[in-house]
Symmetry: C2
Subunit: 230 residues, 2 copies
């Protein structure tokens, strides 16, 4: 298997499903606990959605977090072990599907918000998913993506490309880290604009210790909305 | 005079008009010479404009650079000495006007591109200008803004606010540096979106020495365009 590929990402996450679930549920990931979890919840709730699709939902914490406020919640992940854990904990409906499956129509219905929280890690799979997303949103729906802040996260030359994964800071039971495809801010904005999204917001949650952005959260609206409302 | 104010910016630039003109015309500013001049010219020409308004044009280099490719060029600056130098060198029409004047209708006509190249340095003046800009663009016109990359430029906490100016790296004949109002990327995007612009692009020209973004160039379209074309 190509060590820098969308397939390898899935392979690695399958090997770390239990460790990951324990880390998320135990609040072991400092940046998430301090800032990025709250930031994505606020971004989603700022839209007052009646329906949310969480793509790459993992063990389902975000669905559970939203469950008191949002009536219709669906979580999707490619890793069966993670979806099994999410289903056990409840809060919404869950489904095993790859990004290619989703792009091919695996998720029924349309949503007020589609959210991808640190889950767009690949290259081709992400690009295929973006093409399919506008059709999965209601007319006034939005796509919300949280990802590491490219300018802060990169200690390599600032260009798109595969990066080696790392479990630095995680427990010794984490193995075979997933590679990830780095995109500059320019490329993220192009991914939204090129697929017909109007970028409404780009939040930069600030890490309380470093005083730098801990992440970036893009909110993009269906182009159609603004054709209608303008 | 408040040392951190829009007025102080104008005051400082008036004192440095000759020094600045000499530095620009002599190619003394490395980042401009290596990367950001070319980047803004390319961003403007990528729109194949028939008319360009350069707001904060200084001594007029960008108008001159565009003059072989763009038939209708207008440059505006608040500093009379700079406009005098721009007029002497030619390439387009030039006008002395403050951002408040421009917001109040000082520039006639509408343009394919309005460009602000490292010229949006203030707070209230910039916000007032943004409100007025959509009406100064043709229906399918765009606003192009180049500014220091906030994430790279800031060694202070990443929050909006006034910053002390500096002429470090410039000659000893530069005096009394202008303060500037720092905006995060989040705030820049909000300035575009909040004034009805659809962000089409966010270019990040890479500095060939540091391999980090030397600047950021936003291109925003009139909302109306997409209402019509969608």
């Amino acid at each position: 298997m190509n060590p820098y590929s969308d397939d390898k990402i899935v392979d690695s996450w399958e090997k770390n499903a239990s460790q990951w679930s324990a880390a998320v549920r135990g609040g072991h990931i400092e940046s998430r606990k301090l800032i990025t979890n709250k930031a994505i919840v606020e971004a989603v709730l700022s839209r007052s959605p009646q329906s949310v699709l969480d793509i790459g939902c993992g063990e389902g914490w975000l669905i559970r977090e939203l469950s008191l406020r949002v009536p219709h919640l669906v979580g999707v992940d490619v890793v069966p072990d993670l979806i099994e854990k999410a289903e056990s904990a409840g809060g919404g409906d869950f489904l095993v599907a790859s990004y290619e499956d989703i792009a091919g129509g695996a998720v029924e219905g349309s949503f007020d918000v589609v959210v991808c929280n640190f889950s767009l890690l690949g290259k081709d799979s992400v690009e295929a998913l973006f093409k399919a997303l506008p059709a999965m949103l209601k007319t006034d729906g939005v796509l919300i993506v949280q990802t590491p802040h490219p300018v802060v996260a990169s200690d390599q030359p600032y260009i798109d490309g595969w990066r080696e994964g790392s479990w630095a800071g995680f427990g010794s039971d984490f193995i075979d880290p997933a590679p990830w495809y780095f995109r500059t801010l320019e490329s993220w904005v192009a991914l939204f604009a090129g697929n017909g999204f109007r970028l409404l917001e780009m939040r930069e949650p600030i890490h309380p210790k470093t005083h730098k952005p801990a992440s970036v959260i893009f909110t993009g609206a269906n182009k159609a909305v603004h054709a209608t409302s303008a």
